[in-house]
Symmetry: C2
Subunit: 437 residues, 2 copies
Amino acid sequence: MFNNIKPGQLLVISYALVDLVGTLLLTLPFASTNPGSATLLEAWFTATSALTVTGLTVVTTAEYWTFFGHAVILVLMQIGGLGLMVLATITLSMLGLKIHLGHRVLIVQDRNYFNMSGVVRLVRSIVLLTLALEGVGAVLFALLLPDVWSEGLIPGLMFVVFHAVSAFNGAGFDLTGHSLEPFRYNMGINLAVIVLVLLGSLGYVVLQELFLVRKWHKLSLHSRLVLLVTGIISLVGSIFYFLTEYSNTLASVPLTHKIVTSLFQAVTRTAGFTTIPVLEWTEPFIFLMILMMFVGASPGSVGGGVKTTTLGTTVLAIWSIVRGKKGVVIFEREIAPESVTKAFTVMVIAGMLAAASTLVLMTVEHLPFMPILFEVVSALATVGLSMGVTVKLSAFGQVLIGLLMFVGRIGVLTLIVVLTGIDKRRLHYMKEDILIG
Amino acid sequence: MFNNIKPGQLLVISYALVDLVGTLLLTLPFASTNPGSATLLEAWFTATSALTVTGLTVVTTAEYWTFFGHAVILVLMQIGGLGLMVLATITLSMLGLKIHLGHRVLIVQDRNYFNMSGVVRLVRSIVLLTLALEGVGAVLFALLLPDVWSEGLIPGLMFVVFHAVSAFNGAGFDLTGHSLEPFRYNMGINLAVIVLVLLGSLGYVVLQELFLVRKWHKLSLHSRLVLLVTGIISLVGSIFYFLTEYSNTLASVPLTHKIVTSLFQAVTRTAGFTTIPVLEWTEPFIFLMILMMFVGASPGSVGGGVKTTTLGTTVLAIWSIVRGKKGVVIFEREIAPESVTKAFTVMVIAGMLAAASTLVLMTVEHLPFMPILFEVVSALATVGLSMGVTVKLSAFGQVLIGLLMFVGRIGVLTLIVVLTGIDKRRLHYMKEDILIG
Ligand SMILES: [K+]
Ligand SMILES: [K+]
């Protein structure tokens, strides 16, 4: 059936098709609350943002879309978060169909797994883990927000499930109209979101190992590097937020709130939630956020960016050069030279793409530098934070940001492999490697 | 005498010593025009800016320093432009002393030459070429500026020589008080500066080949890549300036002036001269300038930045990946894999250094993002353009910018080699390579 299409190309085409279906559903008259229906651009931008779990919006999700619209966005977020191939596997498996090799290659490519053995079992455990964690999140939200049922059972259920799915998949969509700002002083919600987003950003390989292995020195090199870099970024980001915002946005709250809010913003850099609007932050933290967004989440997770392992590998490699060593060593193991090369390549490609997009967007939109750079990095790393320019963009700007989200979800390296045709040997080769990009 | 000091460390120490001597000379009471004398920080910043041929200033060169001060700056620019090792070789050679191997290694390292054979002859031709081109520049300036002798022969000579040396060495220092803005409508001066800066930015290897070989297909891979990338950046930069500034800073001048001014700014991105202040440009061009400064000049030249060959190599490498090719090929020759790895590494290290410095400076100085980023890249790439924040910096900020200029002149990779000890085999290994960084 698809004999003439390379597996990687099929992946991109599949995402584009789901994107198209989502777009069409959102253009239906009963998807939007305003008379008539949403424009094609509004629907496409929203569907793309949901499918790529980015969270940038040109219309206010809570007000603009109906219950049906919210359901479409919810499903798109879940599809995007799990990954199309995981869902296809489940469907085929439930229908009792055989999962052939070409399909396995796709799953590996879509989710960046190490190897292709036991794919179906792995996929099942991914789905179960996802649903379990999202379920726990929804229950927590229900317990922590007693007011949520005021409009009835169904809207209440939608509210807690929507935010649990949005948090675990790092989508950053909300039904409040103002991200999680209404829950700024609700420390329970803050902590629940921190845990959900953090777990979602680690990637299934790491989550699985954490559940099964549990001992630090028995974890794979990949998992230890992911945990180390994620920990350092979260800590540095929190401390920086705490110090720079201490007498700014954190001035009026007690110390525990200051600490939790700082941790919240450092962790949800991959999800795109805020409890304090970006525009109220100091410029140094906004710039740090641009850098942290650029780094993004971990490979095999729902998040984008160049990935924590890419940053870790390049920093270790530079440290090796400074110390005059040949190999890049951490935890008494050497990172494969091919992974090191790949890490530097991903950094430069992503940097060039962000710089070029920023230049084009600045020229076309006549908007200031920092908000545009912020928006571009937010889209490319599928973060969803914004300095408020998304709604000000021209149609051209919206299409460019939409395409960046799409590229960010697929990943620059995967996209390049797709353009050139997949090399199966390369996938096998990566078996013992760190995952990059 | 220096048996315990590695050659590379000697290089850095030598630059630091010259920097110190320059600083002390500028603190002499008769170096500055104001009563008393310049502060140590003002003197150090100015000496470092001159020695690294950057051109950033915390005081107005024309007004703040005396004729003696201008002479010190002139000599520092010439030392920095030629390179300390070239000068040391000439001195030893004139004294009839033997140039031993360790010294040859230093020259190679300081100026990024391909090999160590015929170093003395090469050094002589470099000095002759430099003096000849600076001489032609000075004569041109004298002819194009008849008013220059109004204050007498000596000040007139100083004026034309100072600007010729400043232009060919891409230093960007001026004696007008407002860069080359007074000559904004003098097309002759514009063109003379364009030619001097362009020749200075190519590097001696390329200049030598251009004078001796002259045929495109007989030029080395290195020279062809330098000319290609320099040409593309100059052209793209000019066209972008022309289009974005057409109805802004270029609105009131005739078409030839528009074209020359556009070319001027794209070319003197490595020198740091302006005919129109940076703050009057549109933001898109300011951002493009940040990117062009980051790229900088060519290896073995007086300019900084990651270098034209580094950009060329990374872009070609990415293009190879997109096309699914293994090797990086241009002009029917393959760039050595080691050069490709080095290019990506230089890009990432420079990018990280710029980002980290920007973050620190923003936090300390409480100045806006874009001017700080501009300043940091300008210092690290020894460009010398500014959005006007140099004078607003605290002592800490000035020291940081001064250190960035120093790192920029030595080069990140050289500095790393210096920290780790020089590997002679590595120098030999580079014999047939493209020069990176
Ligand atoms: K997101
Ligand atoms: K300069």
